[in-house]
């Protein structure tokens, strides 16, 4: 190469596009989703059975290994890459997209606070997809008010390495009935004077531990193939080696977990919105009324344009949020709340409009948009309701004023 100017030092340039790796992984997941998962989506919804075949597919193609470090057999994917995968799967089947989102969510306490021994012990099986993991924070009386949890863990004996005995129950636990491992947040504070944020501790409960039981699986409006379970703990003996993080660190660990996991739900929401938009746009181009495709009518065209604009805006906020969180932004909580809030509301609006574009056909199960509309609703509810997201955002705003 002939060049008269000296070659400047290569500088990392801030990029506003996906890297080649990210795009390649996204495209691979997209093909798999379109060809192998999409044909199963309606049946998964109808039977409301956990799609073990899809879980196997995600495991065998290393998709479940995305969130785990390479040394444990994972792909060491960044948060944005995990989100790209969740988005592409959710575009065709929100239940299937949630398998990866939950796998990531529930592994986060270990990623953030687990010891090397704990990672050695559990990550290889989780990365290989041999085992599933669930995140058990919510209780019947402790939803948004996490610190109001009543599930209790007490030491059985003296010493810092004594076993723990867990008693209580958890509700609305995604994949709680199919998981091999459950990250359980229990009260370890011994008196009521302990500050609310120091009351909880995280433990890994294994499904075959005595006293652990799946009480029931809920009947839900959407994401029907994803079992949402009520779990009970009756004197479950858990070795101290299964405690994740310090005693009393649970609340903070749960909050840091949600800061990183909410983008996964935003990705699910963006995927659902895109899936509904794709169906609506294709339908509008084909469906003829008054002698021309309904997409030629301005009222329909404007709806489609708004759906696209909303979906793309939510997607860009999500990608930005994931990038900021990956970069260690101090206001990670704000970014994750922003993207979940916008993406969840967008998914609800876009899927509702998709049903409208399809008219009567949108309301019946011959087309997937009614399913997508039902699936979209959960993204406004779980991993913090939209009201909680606003609270997080507003608090970050207020904090800046000081």
């Amino acid at each position: 190469m002939v060049s008269s100017t000296p070659n400047p030092e290569p500088r990392p340039t801030p990029t506003y596009r996906l890297t080649e790796d990210q795009a390649a992984l996204r495209d691979a997941v997209r093909v798999l989703a379109d060809e192998r998962i999409a044909p199963r989506a309606a049946e998964i919804d109808r039977t409301a059975e956990f799609p073990w075949d899809v879980k196997e597919l995600l495991a065998s193609h290393d998709i479940l290994s995305l969130p785990f470090p390479e040394q444990y057999g994972g792909l060491g994917g960044d948060l944005l890459t995990v989100c790209l995968a969740v988005e592409q799967i959710s575009r065709v089947c929100a239940t299937s997209g949630l398998i990866l989102a939950v796998h990531e969510l529930a592994s986060l306490p270990l990623l953030l606070a687990g010891t090397d021994e704990q990672k050695d012990r559990w990550f290889p099986d989780l990365a290989a997809g041999n085992k599933l993991i669930a995140f058990a924070l919510t209780e019947a009386e402790a939803g948004s008010d996490v610190a109001a949890a009543r599930t209790r863990a007490r030491r059985d004996g003296e010493g810092d390495d004594a076993d723990w005995i867990i008693d209580g129950s958890k509700r609305f636990i995604s994949q709680g009935s199919v998981a091999d491992l459950i990250a359980v947040f229990a009260v370890t504070a011994e008196d009521d004077d302990t500050p609310r944020r120091d009351r909880l501790t995280c433990f890994m409960v294994e499904k075959d531990m005595a006293g652990f039981a799946v009480e029931r699986v809920e009947h839900k409006m959407g994401i029907r193939g994803s079992p949402t379970a009520e779990l009970s703990f009756r004197g479950v003996r858990v070795p101290d080696a299964n405690r994740v993080g310090a005693v009393g660190e649970g609340f903070s660990l749960a909050m840091r977990t949600l800061d990183r996991s909410r983008p996964g739900i935003a990705a699910q929401a963006v995927g659902i919105a895109q899936g509904a938009l794709d169906v609506a746009a294709a339908y509008a181009a084909e469906r003829e009324q008054f002698g021309k495709p309904i997409s030629d009518f301005q009222m329909i065209a404007a709806m489609l344009a708004d759906m696209d604009a909303g979906t793309e805006a939510a997607r860009q906020l999500l990608y930005k949020a994931a990038t900021e969180i990956d970069a260690g932004a101090a206001d990670a909580g704000r970014w994750s709340a922003l993207c979940k809030l916008v993406a969840g509301d967008t998914a609800m609006r876009v899927t509702t409009d998709a049903v409208q574009v399809l008219g009567g056909y949108g309301y019946i199960d011959e087309f997937p948009v009614e399913r997508m509309m039902r699936d979209a609703k959960i993204t406004q509810l779980y991993e913090g309701t939209q009201q909680i997201q606003r609270l997080v955002i507003a608090r970050a705003l207020t904090a800046r004023q000081h």
Partner: protein, 264 residues
Amino acid sequence: MRIVVLVKPVPDTASGGERLRPDDLRLDRAAVPAVVNANDEYALEAALKLTEAHGGEVHLVSMAGPTAPETMRKALAMGAASGTLVTDDSLAGSDMVSTTRVLAAVLRGIEYDLLLAGADTSDGGGGIVPAGIATLLGLPYLSYAAKIIPDTEAGSVRVHRISATGYEVLESPMPALIVATQALGEPRYPSLKGIMAARSKTLDTNSLADVPLEDGAAVGGAVSTTAVLGSEAPPPRAATRVIREPAEEAARQVVEFLADRRII
């Protein structure tokens, strides 16, 4: 065992945008994204299954345009270990004879037990390059393979060759050239780890000058013996009648329709 698979990047027919360039009526390869020729993917899948069962590696060989590495990475992501690419501006517009000569010259420098090729490509569609290579290299030519059974100890291979009435069993010593069919099994999806690993696999890219052509045979677009003289879209299909009845009633109506026209 060591298996070489011939792969060709072709325009993605799913894109619907394939077209010829107006000036020289050559395929406009810049107009649409390229994919690995589907029949070559079946050959690659068969090769990967063979090396999984008998050990060894799969090596890719391709003659294609300058963007081919991107497409070949997709084949590497499926599990091939390495690849050799010949790309040269002067090869654009090559006829099948040129392609055959170049690939044969490259293959002379590579060791292998089996050479696998797809039945034809979705762009050119000639389907004679594999037979030409077998001829130039003096390899046994086992076509239309529905099953490949190597005997690595005896150094031979058996192939079930699809025929009009079933299949014939062919046997030949290795190395041999086998033309794969879709009966060998669906190509796998690359795993995410496969995609990541493909980035660091060796893809040896050569210009025409690097290829030891026999007797300095002339190759490339300039000496092509074939040329596209014109191209036309087929006329739009006449109105179609779609029967949406339960199977039995639908069959009755189809029979009636055909009988009315004395087709059956």
